[in-house]
């Protein structure tokens, strides 16, 4: 830390601080033995082991438990006494590395392509490992992210990355794990039919929300027509894929092959009940593995989701209730409703202003409103891994998985005690430094703050 600090303060020529992070290095491969000892180990599957040791060898967890002997050779030992040990946290669906500065700096954005049907568009190729946001996530224990394209009806293909890499090929943890579909809205848009509009809005302003669709048209009918178009796409894709040779290649059809092979999941972005019912219908017709992303209204049909084996990524728990009559804490307790119904769900953080760093606090809120702390943790670790299709490699501190570990001073779900002190990806100790910490050091120096 001191070294970094010195190098920063000596770089007085750097008037543009945007480059400050260039002193933060991705960690090199570590093939030796690593022991994390005496910590309170939160396995990620609900289990907690007090005073346990985790043994990592060649990047993999080989032992977890008590009474694990530590050889006297050249091994790395991290004493986690009094600390909390967690699996690396997973940000399930994000524009991280695609959207750098959302507003006003168009050149920094690569998250949304032109066109309605873009299954062949792959997020991974634009993923920027040098995004300044990444360091702030690592510092809060987030070590993996599902990088997700946005926009259109089928936005494209996501991949999962680990957050300590030189370039996207380095970062890729699972290529092309899912196709992302935006379910058409079944809610009539604001101001379309007049009436119901709160007082005090300049009438002209309504024009902005009135676009698209004919006056008085039935939103459900319109949505179903769009859904039918999407289904037609998949039906034709299925037919195309049954034939191996084609005179004319269709990249869009080829891009969804994994869905039919069950090598990919269909991530349906949907919040409204009817959108989600439509997603269930997709899973039935095509036999896809369907994950619903967003899912703010999922508490209403949690049992149906369970019955149909639909997993959920709950996007932004720190939201206002959907309607003014809703329980004031409805979004906070939605995870508990899903848990109770037995739905496989992950919690996410899509907050554009704090830039996804509060993932664990979303889980903390869920724990305040009905989940146990371990269930809440599982929603940002093992459940997320299962949903993204990486649970064979990570998501819990279990033997055979990668050594992806986060060590915090206290409860990682609670902001007042959640300082992360160590993080490991595949056994590599990754830097917890970031631009903000460097600026902190820089100005501590300016003001002579201890």
């Amino acid at each position: 830390m001191k070294k970094i600090f010195l190098s920063i303060s000596s770089l007085f020529l750097l008037s543009v601080l945007a480059v400050a992070q260039e002193t933060i290095y991705p960690a090199k491969e570590y093939n030796g033995l690593l022991f994390i000892t005496n910590g309170t180990v939160h396995v990620g599957n609900g289990e907690v082991i007090e005073g346990a040791t985790i043994q990592i060898s060649k990047g993999k967890i080989v032992k977890v438990g008590k009474d694990i002997a530590i050889p006297a050779d050249d091994v790395k030992v991290i004493d986690a006494k009094g600390k909390q040990v967690y699996p690396g946290l997973i940000l399930s669906s994000s524009d991280l590395g695609l959207k750098e500065i959302a507003n006003g700096v168009r050149g920094s954005n690569d998250y949304q392509e032109i066109g309605d049907l873009n299954p062949s568009v792959r997020s991974i190729v634009a993923y920027n490992t040098d995004s300044k946001v990444i360091g702030t996530l690592r510092a809060n224990g987030i070590l993996f992210a599902g990088i997700t394209p946005e926009g259109g009806e089928i936005s494209g293909t996501s991949s999962v990355v680990q957050l300590d890499a030189w370039n996207w090929e380095d970062a890729a943890y699972k290529y092309d794990n899912g196709i992302h579909l935006n379910m058409p809205s079944f809610i009539q848009r604001f101001g379309r039919r007049g009436g119901g509009i709160p007082a005090g809005i300049p009438p002209a302003l309504l024009a902005r929300f009135g676009g698209g669709g004919a006056e008085g048209s039935d939103p459900t009918k319109q949505a179903l027509e769009k859904v039918e178009e999407l289904k037609t796409f998949f039906r034709e894709a299925k037919a195309y894929l049954q034939e191996t040779s084609h005179k004319e290649t269709n990249l869009k059809f080829e891009a969804v092959k994994g869905l039919f092979d069950k090598k990919q999941k269909l991530f349906v972005h949907a919040d409204q009940v009817k959108q989600m019912l439509s997603a269930i219908d997709f899973s039935k017709e095509f036999g896809f593995d369907v994950v619903i992303v967003g899912a703010s209204e999922s508490f209403q049909i949690a049992d149906l989701l369970k019955a149909n084996n639909i997993a959920v990524i709950l996007n932004q728990e720190h939201s206002l209730p959907a309607t003014e009559d809703d329980d004031v804490d409805q979004p906070y307790k939605t995870p508990a409703a899903l848990q109770k119904a037995g739905v496989l769900f992950a919690l996410n953080d899509t907050h554009d202003e704090s830039r996804y760093r509060n993932l664990s606090f979303n889980a903390g809120t869920a724990a305040t409103y009905g989940l146990t702390k371990e269930q809440a943790l599982q929603a940002i670790t093992l459940n997320a891994a299962k949903i993204l299709g990486i649970d064979d490699k990570t998501g819990s501190l279990e033997v055979g998985k990668d050594g992806n570990v986060v060590i915090a001073d206290g409860d990682i779900l609670d902001m007042k005690s959640s300082n992360v002190v160590y993080a490991f990806i595949q056994g590599r100790q990754v830097s917890l430094d970031n631009k903000q910490k460097q600026l902190y050091e820089r100005y501590k120096y300016k003001y002579s703050i201890k």
Binding site: I101, A102, N103, G104, V105, K132, V133, T136, F186, I187, Q188, F190, G191, G195, G196, I197, A199, G200, I201, P202, A204, L205, A207, F209, D218, Q272, V273, S296, E297, Q316, H318, S319, L320, P321, A322, T323, E324, D325, D327, V328, H351, D352, E353, S354, R355, N358, F361, G364, T365, A367, T368, D414, M415, S418, Q436, L439, Y440, Y443, Y447, I449
Partner: protein, 1036 residues
């Protein structure tokens, strides 16, 4: 008599009762006196006076006599009005009849279009396009028969018409609904050229950027009053301003203001009060929700009967998005007129806003069913509007000398079965439903002269469309009567009716034998008859089945004796929801009262020298903190057990945008004249939601659309109070400034509004304060000759340390340059808000004496926040600044304690200091630390009882009190949830009932919640929220 009736029914508009002297006649002069006598009528002269068996005489378009036993002039055409009622025709005081409604330019708004800084109106008019008091409805009026007819058909004779466009809308004209034609042009239809002056807060078709908000409209109107006053001195610098001239000229007229909602009504009334004007207010329809506040305006209101239609809530997913408040309003909107009557608020009724004028009487009857008295309704349609417009000498009652505007009805005017027969306007008859004139019901002797001989029947007429023919058998005929022409067809033998016992007198004919032969098999003869009715004697011709020609007569014999089965209106009380405050599921049926409360044995975070006190009691008395200590007792106090819980001062959000109707007035770079306090919305559900997160005070800031934004308003979250009672009384006034990207409109492709750079922002500030200084000096030197400028008044207050700045700011360059402007003019930037690069210039801010109010961990959502830093608060605090953590976000405000806790995580701020960042520190920054912000004897009892350590994510506010009143209580909240659910269900069922009864419904409309914001960043709102921010309104 007979002749006259023929004439009338044949020709609708025939007589030229008046003629215009200056107009040449093309043809033979046809001057008529137009003298009519309406005899034997029940004449309702006015609400107080009803004459039975009376006569009304009109001549030359005027009433010349009315009463009993009056002599009928020989030249009068006599109209027998036996069993008829005559009323003065109705007056609509809020119409745009005969005036083309101004439309926005085609294409509507283009949000990326450049701002329009100046007015597009050509000529010597006002600087702002929405101020057009020179508009004169009488000059624009042209009679429009297509619009007049539906009006007349529901009983109206006179309207006040005006141009419904703009903030100052000009004058209205009184016109009748007569048809314009040769000899009777608008010259005669127009009764009063300038009868009223009209206003609103809606800028209408004005394409000018300013004002773009409710509060901007209010400020503009306020300034216009001042400008008009000043203009009276004929200031040479202003030259001739026809708008201000007209504005002044119009002041002597009745002043009518269009409110669109209960809060708008109150806002309008307050502006009126400032300038000694009592507006007549066109109500929005939801005033019953705050009737006491409405009564307090002492205004007369104009009520529309435009009730929301029931929604189709068959689909529960659609129903879910319709709020309880909207459903309740659907149920209760028809109680609005009754609520006014009960509260003794004078009002007139209007047809304005109705989708179809035909709904008017139906909707009025609904209002009467729900408690409006018929007399009041009649008064509201006649005397009240006439008196308001000072035309009661002309219309509004049936008195001698008034214009002959009246209606003739078949019964009491508001009865459901009553038919409006004629509407007479200016002495001319307009038939409405002539067929209803004669009661056709009764027994007639029908004689058919067939070639085979004469056949006699009794014709039993049940209504204008149903009759039986009784001969040997009772024969059901097809019958119709349109007031003149009678049509009748029937079979001479009964159809198979054996299954019906009732009414089928007479024997069965032979054709019943087979039973399956059908009606026609038995070769019955059928007559098809047509003829004219002349009172009780009808005659005509027809044919039988064989084609034989017949003639027929019918003579009235005896009256119809069947008992009128018309049900009286339901007298049983309908089950209606209660009005709650706010009008929302979480509202109060009765406002909570201040209590003495003793919180026992809690962990008390005092924010004072005492620090955190374990096992401590706090006594609240009369809304203040009375005692803090161990083992307190007070007999008057309600005990709350605080064991295991934490008590803190209420959270104060230094930067919030809830509870207002508009937030951004982006029309100009300097808008210090606008005031958030002018447009508070105390019914914002986010008030309640934030109480549930422990917030007790919020500083409602203007947005960041411009460099010098509007005046802010500190409020206390007194859920249920009205807009004025929401205000934090006695607090220093503040104003919002903004720097950087938003004010230079970075995201707009076509910015043409100065400034476009931070260099320009600096100059906007410099220029504004230079002008303010000069203005202050000019005011001192020549207070009468200097134009009062509300924009500069606010800046002068800043110069004199009577108003304080909270300044949206991000990067160090702009922060420093702002402070230098302050130094130059001798004032402080009291608070820098956002201040995400505050850590870079914290030392300079300390010297300047600024407070800092920031986000805990926001960054990287736009260029100017790329150096934002979660350690910002900690650094600034360590440098010695008073640091606050704010929300600027309706969702995050519910978790401000957690945001404060992040300063412990990022930079190691102590826990007590962290909590102060959302309690005591904002109180200091807002100059209210003597009242709130800590648990100290004598301070306001704004307290939160937490379930856990208040900085922990696991802490939940169990009780939140403001001024010692518990406004949020988790136990009550759970009860409310159940109540909301059952009340929703009741209303859904009721709407479904409405749909199943065949009443028209509209598709379920989601109850959109508008979230107003700074315009700075995205928000995380619910499914049906609409996020309105800077750039939406900036061009608006």
């Amino acid at each position: 008599m007979r002749k006259f009736k023929l004439l009338l029914s044949g020709l609708l508009f025939v007589s030229l009762i008046q003629a215009q002297e200056t107009f040449p006649v093309n043809g033979i002069a046809d001057k008529r006196s137009g003298t009519f006598a309406f005899t034997n009528a029940t004449i309702v002269k006015d609400v107080q006076t009803t004459l039975q068996n009376a006569t009304l005489i009109i001549s030359d378009g005027k009433i010349i006599a009315v009463g009993n036993n009056i002599t009928i002039p020989k030249e009068a055409v006599v109209v027998d009005c036996k069993e008829k009622y005559i009323y003065p025709s109705f007056i609509d005081i809020y119409s745009d009849y005969g005036i083309t409604t101004p439309q926005r330019a085609p294409g509507g708004f283009n949000f990326s279009a450049p701002a329009q800084i100046t007015s597009n109106t050509k000529g010597a008019y006002n600087w702002n396009q929405a101020i057009k008091p020179e508009t004169d409805a009488s000059k624009l009026f042209a009679a429009d028969e297509s619009k007049a007819k539906p009006y007349r058909e529901i009983g109206f004779g006179t309207v006040l018409t005006h141009v419904k466009d703009g903030i100052a809308r000009g004058t209205g004209a009184v016109v009748t609904l007569a048809n314009a034609k040769d000899g009777f042009k608008e010259n005669l239809i127009l009764l009063k050229e300038k009868a009223s002056a009209h206003y609103s807060f809606n800028r209408g078709t004005s394409s000018q950027s300013y004002p773009s908000s409710v509060m901007g409209s209010i400020a503009l109107l306020r300034q216009t009053y001042l400008d008009a006053q000043w203009y009276k001195s004929k200031p040479s610098k202003e030259g001739i301003n026809l708008s201000l001239q007209a504005f002044n000229d119009n002041q002597s007229l009745p002043q009518i203001f269009e409110g669109d909602d209960k809060w708008t009504d109150l806002r309008a009334d307050r502006v009126g009060d400032e300038f000694g004007v009592q507006y007549i207010i066109k109500a929005g329809g939801n005033e019953y929700q705050r009737i006491a506040d409405i009564a307090a305006t002492k205004a007369t209101y104009i009520l529309s009967l435009n009730y929301p239609q029931a929604m189709d809530v068959e689909d529960p997913n659609d129903a879910r998005l319709v709020s309880l408040a909207d459903m309740k309003h659907w149920e209760l909107a028809p109680t609005n007129p009754a609520a006014f009557e009960k509260a003794n608020i004078p009002f007139a009724l209007t047809t304005a806003d109705l989708r179809d004028p035909k709904q008017f009487l139906t909707n009025l009857r609904k209002a009467i069913d729900l408690g409006l008295s018929e007399n009041k309704a009649l008064e509201a349609l006649t005397k009240t509007p006439a008196s308001l417009l000072n035309i009661y000498d002309k219309v509004g009652s049936l008195d001698v000398g008034k214009i002959a505007n009246f209606i003739i009805t078949s019964g009491p005017v508001f009865n459901e079965k009553t038919v409006l027969l004629n509407n007479w306007i200016q002495g001319e008859k307009y038939a409405v439903k002539e067929d209803g004139w004669n009661d056709v019901k009764g027994n007639y002797t029908l004689v058919i002269n067939a070639p085979s001989g004469t056949i006699n029947y009794t014709l039993d007429v049940k209504s204008a469309s149903a009759a039986n023919v009784i001969g040997k058998d009772t024969l059901t005929g097809k019958f119709s009567f349109d007031g003149k022409i009678v049509k009748l067809s029937f079979s001479t033998t009964p159809a198979r009716r054996s299954q019906f016992g009732g009414g089928a007198a007479g024997s069965f004919s032979g054709q019943g034998g087979g039973g399956f032969g059908g009606g026609r098999g038995g070769n019955p003869s059928q007559f098809r008859l047509s003829g004219f009715a002349n009172g009780g004697r009808w005659n005509g011709n027809g044919e039988d089945t064989a084609g034989n020609k017949v003639t027929w007569t019918a003579k009235f014999d005896s009256a119809y004796t069947a008992i009128d089965s018309t049900k009286k209106r339901p007298s049983f009380p309908q089950r209606l929801g209660k009005v709650v405050y706010p009008f929302d599921g979480y509202g109060w049926e009765e406002m909570p009262k201040q209590e003495n409360i003793l919180i026992k044995n809690a962990t008390v975070w005092t924010n004072e020298k005492d620090g955190v006190l374990e096992n401590t009691d706090v006594l609240v008395k009369n809304g203040k903190i009375a005692k803090v200590g161990k083992n307190l007792s007070d007999e008057s106090a309600k005990i709350i057990d605080g064991t295991g819980k934490h008590l803190t001062a209420g959270i104060i959000d230094e930067h919030s945008h809830i509870a207002a109707a508009s937030i951004n007035e982006g029309g100009q770079s300097v808008t210090s004249e606008v005031r958030i306090g002018d447009n508070l919305n105390p019914e914002d559900i986010n008030i309640y939601r934030q109480l549930s997160g422990g917030v007790t005070s919020s500083h409602i800031l203007h947005g960041s659309a411009n460099t010098i934004g509007g005046q802010t308003q500190l409020i206390k979250l007194r859920w249920g109070a009205n807009d004025d009672d929401l205000k934090f009384k006695g607090a220093d006034p503040f104003i919002k400034f903004a720097l950087g990207e938003n004010v230079k409109r970075t995201t707009s492709q076509n910015n043409n509004r100065f400034p476009d750079t931070r260099m320009g922002v600096d100059q906007v500030l410099d220029d504004a304060f230079a002008r303010a200084k000069d203005y202050e000096a000019a005011m001192k030197a020549d207070p009468k000759g200097t134009r009062r400028d509300l924009e500069l008044d606010a800046l002068v207050e800043i110069l004199n340390k009577k108003r304080f700045i909270t300044c949206h700011s991000y990067v160090q360059s702009e922060i420093t340059s702002a402070m230098r402007i302050g130094d130059k003019y001798g004032f402080k930037f009291n608070t820098f808000t956002h201040i995400l690069e505050g850590y870079k210039v914290a030392d300079k801010m300390k010297v300047h004496g600024s407070n800092a109010s920031t986000f805990s961990d926001w960054w990287y959502y736009k260029q100017e926040v790329i150096d934002a830093n979660a350690y910002n608060a900690a650094i600034m605090q360590k440098v010695g600044l008073n640091v606050c953590i704010n929300s600027d976000d309706a969702e995050q405000a519910r978790r401000l304690n957690q945001e404060a806790a992040k300063t412990v995580k990022y930079g190691g701020v102590g826990e007590e200091d962290a909590l102060k960042m959302v309690t005591l520190n904002p109180a200091k920054a807002l100059h209210v630390a003597d009242k709130v912000g800590s648990i100290k004897i004598g301070k306001d009892a704004d307290l939160v009882l937490w379930s856990n350590h208040p900085l922990s994510i696991y802490a939940v506010a169990e009780k939140t009190m403001v001024d010692g009143i518990v406004f949020f209580d988790r136990t009550r909240d759970l009860e409310l949830r159940k109540k909301i659910s059952s009340e929703r269900n009741r209303l859904v069922q009721k709407m479904l009932g409405e749909k199943r009864s065949g009443a028209p419904t509209r598709p379920a409309e989601p109850s959109w919640q508008v979230i107003l914001s700074c315009g700075d960043h995205d928000h995380h709102d619910g499914l049906i929220t609409v996020d309105l921010s800077t750039d939406d309104t900036i061009n608006n």
